[in-house]
Each structure stands twice: as C-alpha cells, then as structure tokens.
Amino acid sequence: MDVILWLLLLSLGLGGGALALFLWSLRAGQYDDIKGAAERVLYDD
C-alpha cells in the first residue's frame, strides 16, 4: 500500500502547482483586461 502515499503526494503536488500558477497569473495582472485580451488576438502587431 506504499503506492497510496506516492499517489497522495503526486496529486497534492499537481494540485498545489496549479494553485501556485493561478495565484501567479492573478498577481501578474493576467485578468486585468479580459475584454481587451479577447480583442488583441485579432491584431497581430
């Protein structure tokens, strides 16, 4: 049953990584201009 420990650690690590990524993106202002981001993709330069 050692495998359950590894799976627990793995799932927590993956989940925690996603959480850290989200908190980083929030801090970096990725959600400050959601409307603008949707339009900017149409203008390449």
Partner: protein, 790 residues
Amino acid sequence: MSAVAVALAPAATEPATACAHCGLPAGGGQFCCAGCEAAFATIQGLGLGRYYRQRVLDRQARAPRPEAHAPRDFSRYVTTDAAGNATLTLAVDGLQCGACVWLIESVLAQEPDLLLGRVNLTTRRLRLVWRGGAARAEALVARAEALGYRLMPFDPALLAAARDRTGRALIRALAVAGFAAGNVMLMSAATWFGLTQGMGPATRALMHWVSALIALPAIAYAGMPFFRSAFAALRQRRTNMDVPISVGVILVSAMSLVESFRGGLHTYFDSAITLLFFLLLGRVLDHQARGQARATAEHLLTLRAADVAVLQPDGGTRRVAHDAVAPAARVLVGMGERVGVDGVVEDGHSTLDASLVTGESVPAAVAPGAAVFAGTLNLGPALIVRATATGARTLLAECVRLIEAAEARRGRFVVLADRVARRYAPAVHILAAATFVFWWVVMGAGVADSLLTAAAVLIITCPCALALAVPAVQVLATSRLLRAGILVKSATALERLAQVDTIVFDKTGTLTEPMPTPLAEADADAWRTAASLAAASRHPLARALHAAMPDVPAARGAEEHPGRGIALAVAGGTVRLGSRAFCDLPAAPAATTELWLARPGRAPVRFGFEERLREDAAQVVAGLRALGLAVVLASGDQAVPVRRIAALLGITDVHAACTPADKVALIERLRGGGRHVLMAGDGLNDGPSLAAAHVSVSPATAADISQTVADVVFQGARLAPVVEVLRLARRARSAMRQNLALAIGYNALMVPLAAAGLVTPWLAAIAMSSSSLLVLGNSFRLQGRARRWT
C-alpha cells in the same frame, strides 16, 4: 405660434455620406470637419488604414470626432519614479472596440521616448510611461486626442486609494478554497466508500490526517474575510451572517480534528472547506456587482479637479487650484476651458455651455456684466471673469452639497439578504445549542458526540445557498442590463427599483430629446442655405439645423464668429446665420430659441427650435402605467411648454416652474405619503431630487453630477430602458425571493435530520452542494427569460 408645431423629422432620411473618420453625417463631402480629415490623413500616413476596415462603430457611443482643446497642464497628475520615468493614467472616452485600442497603441508607439502606452479596454484607461519630464504629457495626450478620443487624467492619489485590494484578496481566497475543497473531497469520497467496502482503520486515519493537513491551513486562509467581519461585529455587540459561519466552520474543524485523534469514523473537513468555497463565490459575485458602481464614480471624479488661470498685476497668468483663488481675482477663461469660479464677465464676448450646471443644452451668449458660474464651458473666445465666489462657495459646490444632504436623508436601505440574516443568525445558534443540550443532558451522550451533532446542525444550516441567493441574481441581472446599455451603479438599486410605485419625470433632456429640433417654418431654399452654413459650425443649434438636412454639403469658405454666428461671402454681399444682432435685426424678445438667416436682398428668415419628445416617450409612459405606476411630471420650465408636453403624454399630475428645492419637496411629500419614488432626470438642478428619491435614473447625456448621483444610467435616444429596468428589477426581486425560500426550505427539511444525529458527512456534502446549485440554477433562469422579452 401654434401650440403643437410640426417638427421636421430628420430620422427618416439617411445621411447622403458619412464622415470617413468619425461616421457622423458629412453632408456630401468625405469628411465632416477639418479635425476628422487630419485624423484620417495621420492614420493613413502611418499605414494604419486597416483600422477603418476592422472597427465596429457603436452608434450610441461618442463618435471619434477630434475636438479643439485649450492647452492643458498635466503635471499635477504625472508621477515620476526614481529612474526618471514618468507615469500618467487617463480615462479614455470614445473607445469602441479592439480596433480603437490597437489604433491608439500603434500611434503612440511612434513616439521614441514612450516606454509603455497601453489601453485597458475593460476599465477604459490608458496608461502612459515615458522617459523624461512631465511636460511631455501634453504632446503624448494630444496624439491620442487628435484621433478623436477624449482623455481625462486620473489623480494618482485617488487612483491608489481606489485600487481593488479586497476584490483580489477574495479571489485568492476563493482559489485556495477551491483547490483545498477539490482535494479534500477526493479523500472524503474514498473514506465514504471505504465505510461500506471494508477500509481498514489505519488507511481511514491516514485519509483523515491528509484531509486535515490540506483543509486546516486552507480554512485559516480562506476563512479570513468571514472571521474578520464576524469579530468586528461581535466587538460592537452585534451579530451578522458571518458569526454563524465563523462559529460553524471553526467548531466543525476543531471537532473533526478531535475525531481524527480519536480515530473516529466521520470527519467534516470537506464540509467546512466546501462551505467556505460556496460562501466565497457569493462574496466575489457581490463584490463584482458593487465594483461597477465604483468604476463609474472614479471616471466622473476626474472631471472635478481643475485649475484656474489667475491674471497677475503684471499681465501674466498663474495657474492655481480652483479653491485657492482669492475673491475678486481676475480669471482668464480660454476657449474650450471650464470656468473655475462664480463671477461676473469683465471683458470679452462669448458663448457658454451651461449643460453641466443647468442641464440646458442650448449655449447662452455672455457679454461684460453677465454672471457666470463655475462648471460652465467657454465655447468661444477668451473671457476675463472677476471672481465673486470660489471653491466651496460656488453654485456648483452648493448643488453638490444639496445632493449630499439629500443622500444622507435617504438613509440606509436594508437589503433583503440582511433582513433575512438578522433573524436567521440567532435562530441557527439557538438550534445548535439546543441540539447539544438535548444530546448531552437528555440523551446522556458524551460531550464530544453531542458537540459533533451540534456541529452537523451548524453545517446543514450554514447559509451558503442563502449567501448565493441574492448576489447571483444581482450579477446576472446587472450584466444583462449592461449589455443593453443600462448601467446599474448601486448594488441595492435593483431591490429598490422593484419597490417603485411612483415615477417623477423631469422634462428637458429626459422626456424630451437632449438636442432641440428645428421647426419646419422656412422655405426649402432658405433651409438649404442655412444648413450649408450650419455644417461649418460646432454650435449645438447649428448642428441641430444641419442634422435636419444632413445631405446638404458644407459651404466652402464659411467663417464662424464664435458666439454670434456664421458668415459666408457671396456675390453681392454676405450671407449670415446667427443671432438677431448678428443678422443686423432690431433686438426683440424671442418666443423660442431661434436662429436667423440673412441673405443679401432678401427678407431675413427665422428658424425656431423646439424640444421634441423622445421617440418612444408616449409608449414608455403607457408602459409605466401598465406596470401600475403613477406618473408625475416636474419641470423647472414655464407652465405653457410643460403642460403641452404633459398633454401629449396624457400626464395629469404636473408641476411646472419648480426650483431644485421644490422638486425635493415634492418627492419628500410623496415619500411622506408612503410612496416609493423613482426620479428620472438629467440636469444638475435635478441632482438633489435624484438623491432624495428612493431610486433614480439618468440618461447618459445628463450632467456629470446627475450621473454620479443616479443609481441607474442608460444610453441611447430611447426612453424604453426605464421600463426595461423596472421590469427586470421586479423579476430579479421575485428570483431573489424564490432563492431565499428554496434555501430556507432546504434547511428546514434537513435540520431535523441533523438534530437527530442522522446526517453523516456524505449526506451533508450532498445537501450543501445541491442546495447551492439549485439556487444558482434558479438565478440563471432569470437570464434566459430576460432574453425573450426584447
């Protein structure tokens, strides 16, 4: 003049050409004005022509037509960092779509010293960072303004104060709670199935401990907003919805920890953290509904800060803040500048746009000796004004104070959710305490088991569906209204709108169109000539005249005499369009607003203007009656025009020649009679009554201060949004009530089970999630139905 004059309808005729830059009628030519021509040339010259192919012009928004500006001083608003980089944030008026963002950024990118020029389409702000002094600001701003946008600087101090820290903290807490809830639920599901499939006690203990490891730090972090608010309430010896939440979450966590130590069968970590997740969802939605109001207020605050050019004894000028001007100082007001003080004109002839102060759309001519008020805009040549009142003693400041006083009288409106919470919180505590006492004393169970059962009661009754019930409806309703061009500024406005039973309308600019309409009294030839001259001017009356005949080309070589009229040299003399005096006519009192056309060798022709009802005013009044509302008309105008409009609409309760104080008195009288009054008005003179009413609506053409005060601001030429917003508000109220009933009904069903000790963690999890989802689902139903009415 006949009582019901026939107005020429410009709506039926499509303009022959639209300006290639701003899209406004160009009267036969390619452009409507020199500014647009220059903007077009700039854009094509930089190779940015695809802007015109890719943009989507919104007819209801301000057209991107460049306006002439007096030089402005931005140094107050510029902040400079240690490295010598200057930063300026501006509100952008006239942004229409992504193409505008791209255009502004591409044009600004041509400036070599600009480090950052980025437009935020969501908040409609432009942030500029450049290397060098604050003096560069004006040139940079001018580049964007030459394209037709209007920019207003933000005060850096206000900007810092308004940064949305709470909103971000809530979202972070939501993310943490969501992560923890998901992971703890994985462990919990495993233990629940383990109970029936023979999971060993050691594995179960491991699951419980891992759950505790994830849940406890997450609860400590994500629960902070609730713990803080509950603590603050308790310290003031009050209770609020956050008190049962905090007590419940902490008690449940502590009991689950004890159970983990004891090696018990059930822990409730998943319930505690899922609860926080749902509650935070409600908080975030609620915060977003309030956020829209905040953003609008910030936009308008930028208009208040202005400085004044004071003439010095040596003939030079010095710019000082408007509240620091000494009484009797002589102030220079340039073209396109707002007057910063109340005073008397000492030198100069010009026209003032007083729409900010009076809501009157037709500019008034001023000459030496005329009284002027702070907040009016000088449309013509420079004036010298001797200040009689400055700063807080101006009429403008007086009006703002009246508004504030009226707002204070309106008192605090207790929202539905709070009214429910006041009764709910104590009831829940008593129930939980009774459960504990029952099991401990009556049934003789152990303290820990009794506490665990009481905790289960708290979990089941915890108001997560209740906390979602109102914000979810609010966010869905306000965002649906926003898409229709109706901005709901106050978070409680929807609930107040739903109670309205009486509506008081202002006349000018609210029931009638903000621009006057020319009367069809002159012959076609005179019309054509007048329209061609009018096309050369930006004066509101000239624009109204030209708008009635948009396909007439502008006269080449027409010369504007600001504040007086337009002249065109032709063979045999001069054609003039303007005031009586400008056309060399003897002075006489005018019956209505008028313009005169004088042509060599022909009799002068008069163009009268009248207010025209908004296109759908009659339907709207009928629609309001159908909703069961009493309709009242209160106007500052004289009795005759007010009664004419009232007769057209079939309104019988009419009050004419009202001062702002009269309107407030009328509203207070109605309130005294138990009425819930909706005030719809646009002028600054309506400001106090807008604030005094139960809830208020303004068109987007209204004076800035009225828009600040009003709970709801709508765009467009039609009045229909007033009915629409009332209908949706009523529907939203019934959805809120349904949600609350659902949530409370659910609890009533589950509480006996919990008190009997029959609720296990998996049952609690299902009950909690399904009631929250049910409430959310019911709210979304509102959006679906809303789409069908339009």
